[in-house]
């Protein structure tokens, strides 16, 4: 069941679209904000609420790389792998993070602390290489900076 809080938040978004389904991305994001990811159960509940079929909603959910249909860690690392960051050495930074956390891109650490996801250009190309954790941007990265940044997330 969607919680009251979730329903209120979703309803506020739905009013902004001519048809209910227009709000489905914001609805998915609202549920994800509360539950971390979109399970099959969450998807079915939400589809009911939006008067869409589950498959229809799933086809939208799976289109977007920032809607998670699998469980993720407490913190999401979006590592920019696009061109300006690549020129400035993002491959080494990514390898350093992989080694440090013991995971490959797309994986979650065993303690559930971090999920590491490669991402397209974060619009911080003048501070390449860059990454984003839980919506906060970090630029001009090197190994030492990575240590400092990751230490800030429990």
């Amino acid at each position: 069941m969607l919680t009251k809080q979730e329903m209120t938040e979703i309803q506020a978004e739905l009013n902004r679209y001519e048809q209910k389904r227009g709000g489905c991305i914001e609805a998915l994001k609202t549920v994800q904000r509360h539950r971390g990811w979109i399970s099959d159960e969450s998807l079915a509940e939400l589809a009911d609420f939006l008067e869409m079929t589950t498959d229809d909603l799933d086809s939208v959910a799976t289109f977007y790389n920032l809607i998670f249909r699998k469980p993720v860690g407490r913190h999401i690392i979006l590592m920019c792998t696009s061109i300006s960051c690549w020129v400035m050495g993002s491959e080494e930074v990514l390898h350093y993070i992989e080694e440090k956390l013991g995971i490959k891109p797309g994986e979650t650490t065993a303690d559930g602390r971090f999920t590491l996801i490669p991402n397209v250009c974060l619009g911080a190309c003048d501070h390449a290489p860059a990454l984003m954790i839980d919506g906060s941007l970090h630029g001009d990265l090197d190994a030492q900076k990575i240590d400092e940044i990751l230490a800030g997330y429990e």
Binding site: Q19, R21, I25, V60, I83, S84, C121
Partner: protein, 424 residues
């Protein structure tokens, strides 16, 4: 005032509505609403020679004029601001969104008035979290002051403005894919015609304008078309937010007259190359534009001049290739991006881009053959405009086809030496 767009920019701590008004903000809106001549505003924008800053450079006023008007016209009319900015190497709209959201909102209300829109959306990529906060606050302030909502400043004109945050996928920035995204469908481009100004969101007339484009509108409305054209050094009106990233001394963004040369941007503003690095190539306007060579520094950065030089102005944010970076690796990185971001709707793009990425990967890893050069060349032609449903695939092959000519020797060295000469 020769830098209208960035004069009052305060990234991360943008002017609130009082500060914006003190600096002359919402004056243009008051004037336009008093004149009560939406068609006149469209004409002013046509006369200003403002061209779209989202990449394609379509004249903004002309696009607006395609919205059917008059008594019998379909409503609601929609105005959508494209803030999806995911083109690799592009970071200019973020500055405007985070640095002065009221400038954008005033532009939206003016643009909305010109096309007699009822509802406007700002379509923002999810990762722009600071921009989301800045815009939300500014929208609330504008509603409070009566600049948005019903009967704006007693003019009889009403406009609702909503912020939509997306959930990833580069293709959402393509304007018809964006319409599907806003309707809560998979963000796959639509067939054109019909074009969005006639049949757009939910089948209603819809204009999609880039963030930077619309930020120019308050200044045009306030100071006029002649003033705007005079800001530029070429036939297109206004200033442009240019950028540079890569191994230059001072990567960044600068608002400059439209039509300054690459040399001026790179040498005067970006400080030249970092010590120990030499310039080898320039991608002038985001990932989907062709490389220019290091001896094309005198090309002017306006739509027509860059086109004449064999590339496109695109977003005007340059990506610099230096001599210590492998051009094959660079093109491979770009191709992997496009292959991954293909929406999968049409076969040449869905199948062709991953295939190109694999071929480039083989060359980069020293497993290429000389015949591959010809195959790659031929394949770029197969993905030319008109062969695919949208412009993603043609854009994807632009850097490749130019690199095959400009850096042919480097490709051949990879093949002959069976390794990447830039890797130890």
């Amino acid at each position: 005032m020769d830098r209208p767009l960035t004069e009052n920019i305060r990234p991360g701590a943008p002017p609130d509505i009082d500060a914006y008004e003190r600096a002359g903000g919402y004056r243009a809106l008051r004037k336009v609403l008093k004149d009560a001549d939406p068609k006149g505003l469209i004409q002013t924008v046509i006369d200003s020679h403002l061209r779209g800053r989202g990449g394609a450079g379509f004249p903004t006023g002309r696009k607006w004029s395609f919205v059917p008007g008059g008594e019998k016209a379909a409503h609601p009319v929609y105005l959508i601001i494209n803030g999806d900015e995911m083109e690799p190497g592009t970071f200019k709209d973020r500055l405007l969104l985070e640095g002065n959201p009221h400038q954008l909102i005033e532009g939206i209300i003016l643009g909305g008035y010109a096309i007699q829109a009822d509802i406007a959306y700002i379509f923002l990529r999810q990762e722009y979290t600071v921009a989301e906060r800045c815009c939300s606050r500014a929208i609330a302030e504008a509603y409070d002051r009566g600049y948005l909502g019903r009967n704006i400043l007693g003019s009889g004109f009403s406009l609702e403005l909503y912020l939509h945050t997306s959930a990833g996928r580069y293709i959402c920035g393509e304007e018809t894919a964006l319409l599907n995204a806003l309707e809560g469908r998979r963000a796959i481009p639509r067939a054109k015609p019909p074009f969005p100004p006639v049949v757009g969101l939910w089948g209603k007339p819809t204009i999609v304008d880039n963030v930077e484009t619309i930020c120019n509108v308050p200044h045009i409305a306030e100071h006029g078309a002649d003033w705007f054209r005079a800001l530029s050094r070429c036939g297109d009106g206004g200033t442009k937010i240019y950028g540079a990233s890569g191994r230059v001394k001072k990567p960044g963004l600068w608002e400059l007259p439209m039509g300054v040369t690459i040399r001026e941007i790179l040498e005067e503003h970006a400080g030249g190359m970092r010590d120990g690095f030499q310039l080898r190539g320039i991608i002038p306007g985001g990932a989907s534009t062709e490389f220019l060579s290091a001896d094309q520094l005198d090309v002017k950065m306006d739509f027509d001049s860059v086109q004449a030089a064999g590339s496109r102005l695109g977003t005007g944010t340059m990506i610099i290739l230096d001599d210590r970076t492998c051009p094959v690796g660079m093109v491979l990185n770009l191709m992997r991006f496009f292959a991954r971001q293909s929406c999968g709707w049409c076969t040449p793009c869905r199948e062709g881009l991953p295939w190109l990425a694999r071929a480039l990967e083989a060359i980069e890893n020293g497993e290429g053959r000389l015949e591959d050069m010809e195959i790659l060349r031929r394949h770029t032609g197969l993905l030319a405009p008109g062969h695919t449903f949208c412009a993603l695939a043609p854009g994807a092959v632009e850097p490749l086809q130019s690199a095959l000519t400009l850096f042919e020797d480097d490709f051949i060295r990879h093949i002959r030496e069976k390794r990447c000469p830039w890797r130890k």
